[in-house]
Symmetry: C2
Subunit: 369 residues, 2 copies
């Protein structure tokens, strides 16, 4: 039986477990703590920066993959040098560690993206500011940002003085976009590549609140543009596993790459119910070198709503009662204000109607704790 | 967090785990061995006939349910007397322990069933034989039969002499039927009841080989008859959890009850992919006293094929390669000739076409070990 080791015990590792059970893959999780969301499959608890601990874990798995992108590149390379199969590769994952590395690689790959520049504290900022079109622009900490953290819209450099003391800051053009999309796909070693249709992601305070799939009103040529972009990136990066490309749709319909992730991604959760193959199953199939599954959809529309703060027995029960069709995914995380603790998916005939219904379920859940 | 304890570590317990993970229920399995299919959730290994061991296990769960019907009634009653919530109830489960008890109860409930009689070694057989319409008739061991084991078509009593030495034998009329159907539904305490459409089950050598859902060519009135029958039985039995009613369809379209099961059942596996709510999720929702989910179908047709003998890494890989839409469920059982070791589901537009495609996948799997 193929053994897949997953570094990180969060909800993404948790949601790989059902697919591993179905396929008969053995899944082992290297978790941060005993109470992590993926605890049921945790065979080791430790610090993912500790090479020795990871080596011990990796010794008994056929392939090592990841719930997050925080394992340092030198640790990943050392693991591979010790004959551990690491998927995606350390080189691919390096693009997700540092947004400046990502922007540089995207430029080299010829991908459309916002204009960008790197600013260091000692630089004269004029050139960098000119490159991104001046103020207001977007400033990003290159490492460690997520869910709106580490991102600021700035009107003056004094607003990022604190970051500049720590190291270089990524500046990006403030793009005028009509909406954000995510392009989910997966690639297997050797080049087999399967994509899902683009989804629309809706943010609130920098955090994904809802995903609508397929992205409503997308033209055939936009779908083709999205497919070509994601496929080109997957192949040039040589990713093995799921690739999520977050993009801005500009008023003229063209796409600019915002972010990359090389693992199952919040924007792809809707496909667990909506598609023949979920992103979790697809990721496992890719890293275990199994033929990728079909990505056909089972309904005209699907909506995923994130659930924030807490999920209790009572609020899960209330959500299920609110709509007998809803599929709730409870990450079994401890409650914290604003924390993503689960999500719910509804399938339906139209995205407008389904969105309203899914939001209603979330309101019931949020109101029932 | 609600804790569901499952007695038995077979594939049915195994397939409850993904739904428990999704809903955020904690699932704990009392398994027969360390390598049981549901091992990932096993918190205790022991003998399910041992009341002390079960009591220890049950002390830390909110509700106790079952992967099989082999726990003796006196043990179930003792558990309930010790304030363990047992779902379904010992009285309900008793009907599945002994086919004579089941036939008696079905008669009392007014359910249509084959004519039947009980024969004991000391009896004059004439009366019993007359009740079932004479030879050939069906003889069944009341306890412990499954998958064609413990069932014989007999032309003379000498063919069941061995069984009569052990105790009473159930005789049943040999029904002329056109096909076998299964009626899957689930009931929650208090009476909420949700059914799936009838499925057609195809046996080979007394073992279910394929399930076609919904049962092709079933008229509205047959569906209504099936629904009324299953609903009446669920309510009269007071079952909590999934109820599977296996029935014979007679040439005039009427139904006769063959068997009952009060747990997820092989005939309902197709709904994991085909329906908004799987039988495993529905069973957990019922026993955890959560609102039952919708049973709407996501495709016009679904086919489940059982996989026999063995499933290897190679044969799973070959099956996935044979059809990118196929969903393989690998029970991670040790190989044994004729043993059900997994199943595969395909969804499609027509049952005829989908059956051919699913059988092809199975042939590839069976040919690739």
């Amino acid at each position: 039986m193929t053994v897949v080791g997953v570094v990180g015990g969060g909800q993404l590792a948790r949601m790989m477990i059902p697919s591993a059970i179905n396929l008969g893959l053995e899944i082992r999780v290297f978790a941060e703590g005993k109470d992590s969301p993926a605890a049921i499959a945790a065979t080791q608890v430790g610090d993912y920066r500790n090479l020795g601990a990871l080596q011990k874990f990796a010794r008994e798995v056929d392939v090592l993959t990841f719930d997050h992108e925080h394992v340092p590149t030198d640790v990943l390379v050392a693991l591979r040098n010790a004959d551990v199969t690491v998927a995606p590769s350390p080189e691919a994952l390096a693009l997700t560690h540092d947004k400046i590395v990502m922007r540089t690689a995207l430029s080299e790959m010829g991908a459309p993206q916002p204009r960008w520049a790197v600013l260091e504290g000692s630089d004269d900022p004029a050139h960098a500011l000119q490159q991104v079109g001046g103020f207001p622009c977007i400033a990003k900490k290159p490492i460690g940002g997520y869910d709106g953290k580490g991102v600021r819209v700035i009107d003056s450099l004094s607003q990022v003085e604190d970051w500049l003391e720590l190291g270089p800051v990524l500046l990006e053009e403030r793009v005028s976009f009509v909406r954000e999309l995510a392009l989910l796909s997966a690639r297997r070693e050797g080049g087999q590549w399967v994509s899902w249709p683009p989804v629309e992601t809706r943010q609130r305070d920098g955090v994904c609140a809802e995903v609508i799939a397929p992205a409503p009103g997308t033209s055939d040529s936009q779908n083709e543009q999205a497919r070509a972009l994601a496929g080109s990136l997957a192949e040039q990066i040589g990713v093995v596993g799921v690739l999520a490309v977050e993009v801005f749709e500009q008023p003229d319909g063209s796409l600019l790459v915002n972010e990359l992730a090389m693992r199952p991604h919040n924007s792809g959760h809707v496909f667990t119910e909506l598609s023949v193959t979920s992103q979790f199953e697809q990721h496992l199939r890719a890293v275990a070198d199994l033929t990728l599954g079909a990505s056909a959809l089972l309904a005209p529309a699907g909506v995923m709503v994130n659930i924030f703060g807490s999920l209790t027995d009572e609020s899960v029960a209330a959500g299920l009662e609110a709509d007998p069709r809803v599929k709730i995914h409870n990450y079994s995380k401890t409650a914290r204000d604003g924390r993503k603790v689960g999500h719910a998916v509804l399938l339906g005939e139209s995205s407008d109607e389904t969105l309203v219904q899914a939001q209603h379920v979330r309101e019931v859940i949020h109101g029932s704790r």
